[in-house]
């Protein structure tokens, strides 16, 4: 109705001056001053202190705090007077009601929306909010046919959501021409995108990212709200023995081989955790480290540190990147084997990359890397039987790239090769539905010993693991999705020795338990308001 009202108002105004037809209506949120006014109107410090009980960090950029965060950005500290001024300058129509959508199902989000509504009302902006249901992805991400001038393909003004990034590029690559549902194409930003993606030199990347942040600090395609942390919880039975704490949603060298746990009353050293399988083990090529199975069943070619920076070889004994960054060579360990005893080969790695390219739900970072390979385009178009840029020579595998992918090593530190002999012939479009995911065979430090779907999965140390045998006798994972509703009662009952959560209420409950400890860790997870700046189709 608001859009109808605006369309009619504008239509009337236009017909008074010239009787011309038009196909679209200017979106008031396309005015930078309006977006800045919204940022000034929200008191994130207070929201974080009250609603989030201090368990978040107010954000002034999509890029989390740290060495890649630019200095001197406008933090849009709460300033309702400035917000009102900007709205007045932009000629904001106080009858326009901003339509805000979100997709989380928790009460905290509703509370946050209510607070947002109050803050905006205070500066003269009306707002309604609604939860997206059903085809959430379509409603969030539908892209206009013409990224420069077409009308919006989504029907909201502002979307509240998060970007969970494996690499920083993911925060901004969504603005690329033809990829954004809410930000029209902009040559200046496209140039910045080319800069962050066009080099493997970390210093050049850092400078480009900082320039990007300064640009976005004014443009506010997304209004950054807060950085969310992840909370790792452990029982007092568990000891990492010096293992670091990092971004648990992905894979890093966390010293799992040397973890120890106090024996139970029967003398068994069993670690209990969650995120076990419900109906199937989730394939690890979309979320490579979210479930317990994905973390401990598979090795990657490389490992990473707690900040997810690739460091050493894992399945690969050594690796080498060419000077121009267009070629990476891995030499596989000759003692790395799958859990059925078969050796891990270059052929397995090559097959995995070929297959992954056909899997629709492939992690975007992996997809970018593999699509940059020499001959990937021809393979995807069906013009070639294989990707010419992958060369296997015994235990040596070389990846040659057409274009530079700045995250090539990150990809190989997270992407787990899978055993070709168990998955040969799989239809990539039905990858997750393959029987393999009922009882997966991996190459990691633990192997699957027993699974009762929706009851538990039992992992035991793999005796043939190249890195030695893990200390903990058994890991039992109880079924849960990412957001496990049973964390508190299972932890209280001693059925949870390790896990991680982003839920404020879980953290509060866990911190009250004497036998549990909670460790916050920084992650690339920024919540923001995505502002739809595309014009609307008149109703």
């Amino acid at each position: 109705m608001n859009r109808l009202y605006s369309a009619l108002a504008l239509s009337t105004a236009l017909t008074m001056t010239a009787p011309i037809a038009f196909a679209q209506v200017e979106n008031p949120l396309s005015d930078e001053r309006v977006r800045q006014a919204i940022a000034y109107a929200i008191d994130m410090e207070t929201i974080v202190d009250t609603l989030f009980e201090g368990m978040a960090v107010p954000a002034d950029s999509m890029i989390p705090n740290g060495p890649w965060h630019a200095d001197g950005l406008d933090d849009y500290a709460y300033n309702p007077d400035r917000a009102r001024e900007l709205l007045a300058e932009a000629g904001w129509d106080e009858d326009y009601v901003v339509d805000v959508v979100y997709y989380y199902g928790d009460q905290l989000t509703v509370d946050f929306m209510t607070a947002l509504q109050a803050y905006l009302a205070d500066v003269g902006m009306q707002m309604t909010f609604r939860r997206l249901e059903g085809d959430v992805i379509g409603e969030l991400t539908s892209v206009p046919e013409d990224p420069h001038s077409d009308v919006s393909a989504v029907d909201w003004d502002i979307a509240y959501g998060a970007k969970a990034a494996l690499v920083l590029h993911e925060y901004y690559n969504v603005y690329a021409d033809g990829h954004s549902a809410y930000t029209p194409s902009d040559p200046a930003r496209t140039e910045l995108l080319d800069r962050i993606n066009g080099t493997v030199d970390l210093e050049e990347q850092r400078v480009a990212f900082q320039d990007f942040q300064r640009y976005e600090s004014d443009a506010l395609s997304d209004i950054p709200l807060y950085y969310q942390q992840i909370y790792i919880f452990e029982s007092d039975r568990l000891d990492r023995n010096g293992g670091p704490y990092g971004n648990e949603q992905f894979n890093y060298d966390w010293n799992i081989l040397n973890w120890t746990i106090e024996p139970d009353e029967n003398g068994n050293e069993i670690m209990y955790t969650n995120k076990g399988p419900i109906q199937f083990f989730t394939q690890p090529w979309l979320n490579p480290g979210l479930t317990m199975g994905a973390k401990i069943l598979y090795d990657r070619l490389m490992t990473a540190d707690a900040a997810l920076v690739p460091t050493d070889g894992q399945l690969a004994e050594s690796f080498e990147v060419s000077e121009d960054g267009l070629s990476v060579t891995f030499d596989l360990r000759d003692n790395a084997t799958w859990h059925d005893g078969e050796p891990v080969t270059g052929d397995d790695v090559s097959w995995s990359v070929h297959t992954a390219l056909g899997v629709p739900s492939l992690n975007a970072v992996f997809a970018n890397t593999f699509r940059s390979l020499e001959g990937a385009e021809a393979y995807l178009d069906g013009e070639a039987d294989s990707i010419s840029g992958i060369v296997v020579d015994g235990d040596r595998i070389t990846f040659n790239f057409d274009t530079i992918d700045p995250n090539v090593l990150v990809t190989f530190s997270q992407f787990p090769p899978l055993p070709r002999h168990h998955l040969e012939g799989v239809n990539p479009l039905e990858f997750q539905q393959h029987p393999f995911w009922q009882y997966p065979i991996g190459s990691g430090p633990y192997r699957l010993e027993e699974v009762q779907m929706n009851d538990f999965a039992r992992f035991v140390p793999y005796e043939g693991y190249w890195g030695g045998i893990a200390n903990i006798d058994e890991i039992v994972a109880f079924p849960s999705e990412d957001n496990d509703p049973n964390v508190l009662q299972n932890a209280a009952a001693g059925r949870l020795d390790y896990g991680f959560t982003k839920s404020v209420s879980h953290v509060q409950g866990l911190e009250e338990m004497d036998h549990m400890r909670v460790i916050p860790a920084n992650i690339n997870y920024t919540r923001s308001l995505r502002i739809n700046a595309f014009p609307f189709q008149p109703s």
């Binding site: 959430v136 892209v143 419900i278 199937f280 979320n287 629709p360 975007a364 479009l429 029987p435 039992r458």
Partner: protein
């Protein structure tokens, strides 16, 4: 009676087709599809529309509604129940895997609630107006009024977390071999589910018993000098059981559908839990089959109730 049963069974077929169409239509009208659930929104904006469309096409989700229903129906009529869209597991296997858990939970709950409910209801009726009757009436009211989830959480908190007498949830643990290994996991969910069901049966059987005891044939039986227990049990209770059997009969479908709330609270891996997950994930083949089996169970229960009523109550004739 044979003709009656055969006719009722034949009527079931068009009823099942009509009901399944309505359920399918309901799912169709629900926004979104299985693909929307498979990809988390936080990462969705990194996938292309073509990737998502390819997934939909592969899963057969972009065919016209009626065609999809026809394919599903003909497959089911041929005994092919299909596969879970998300897991790729045969629905037959999911049923075989989940049904024992649900039958175990619901079966024990129905058994206990029937025996205890009938017994307490009869006592309450026979001691009408006494302190026992009043106490049982209050307990019955509480049992009917308190929501299952609340009762479940209180039981969980007290018996599992505070007293640590019983497990907090789940059904199986590594190393369990026999029923007795997992019996402790069964106690709390069965207790909570039974108590909720007992309250209803008790109140129903009390009312039915009071009604029966006020009938003239009871007075006649007493006038004939029959012993009180014989009048109450053989004449009164037998008649009073008829409406109670109807109530219990309509609870039999719970054997298939499971108790959704109780299964969620106690992490019980039954069909109810599976149904919720399937609805959330818009896994329509799985939703359809669980719903269809629940409907079938309900219709069969209705048939069984008619037959049992005729057997228990000689005044009822099936035609």
């Amino acid at each position: 009676m044979g003709t009656f049963i055969l006719r009722r069974i034949l009527i079931l077929i068009p009823m099942l087709v009509a009901i399944s169409f309505l359920i399918y239509l309901g799912l169709e009208l629900t926004p979104g599809d299985a693909v929307s659930h498979m990809i988390p929104p936080d990462v969705a904006n990194t996938l292309s529309a073509e990737d998502l469309e390819a997934l939909r096409e592969q899963l057969g989700l972009n065919q016209p509604f009626l065609l999809r229903f026809w394919i599903w129906l003909t497959n089911v009529l041929q005994g092919n129940f299909g596969h879970s869209l998300e897991a790729g597991v045969a629905i037959k296997d999911i049923f075989l895997d989940r049904l024992p858990a649900t039958l175990e939970l619901s079966g024990f709950a129905i058994l206990f609630s029937t025996i205890i409910g009938c017994f307490l209801g009869t006592i309450s009726a026979l001691r009408r107006g006494s302190a026992t009757d009043n106490s049982l009436t209050v307990v019955g009211m509480l049992g009917v009024s308190i929501p299952e989830f609340f009762f479940g959480l209180v039981a969980l908190s007290f018996f599992a977390l505070h007293l640590e007498w019983l497990p907090v949830g789940g059904r199986l643990m590594p190393g369990y071999d026999s029923f007795w290994d997992r019996a402790p996991h069964l106690v709390l969910p069965v207790l909570v589910l039974s108590l909720m069901m007992t309250a209803g049966v008790m109140r129903y059987s009390r009312a039915a018993m009071l009604d029966a005891l006020s009938r003239e044939y009871i007075r006649t039986a007493r006038a004939k000098g029959l012993p009180g227990w014989r009048v109450n049990l053989l004449h009164g209770l037998r008649t009073a059981l008829t409406p109670v059997v109807v109530l219990i009969g309509f609870r039999l479908p719970a054997l298939i559908g499971g108790s959704v709330i109780i299964e969620l609270v106690f992490q019980w891996p039954g069909l109810g839990n599976e149904f919720i997950a399937a609805v959330r994930g818009q896994d329509y083949p799985l939703v359809m089959m669980i719903a269809l089996f629940s409907v079938l169970a309900m219709l069969l229960a209705s048939l069984i109730i008619d037959v049992l009523t005729a057997l228990i109550d000689p005044r009822v004739r099936l035609e």
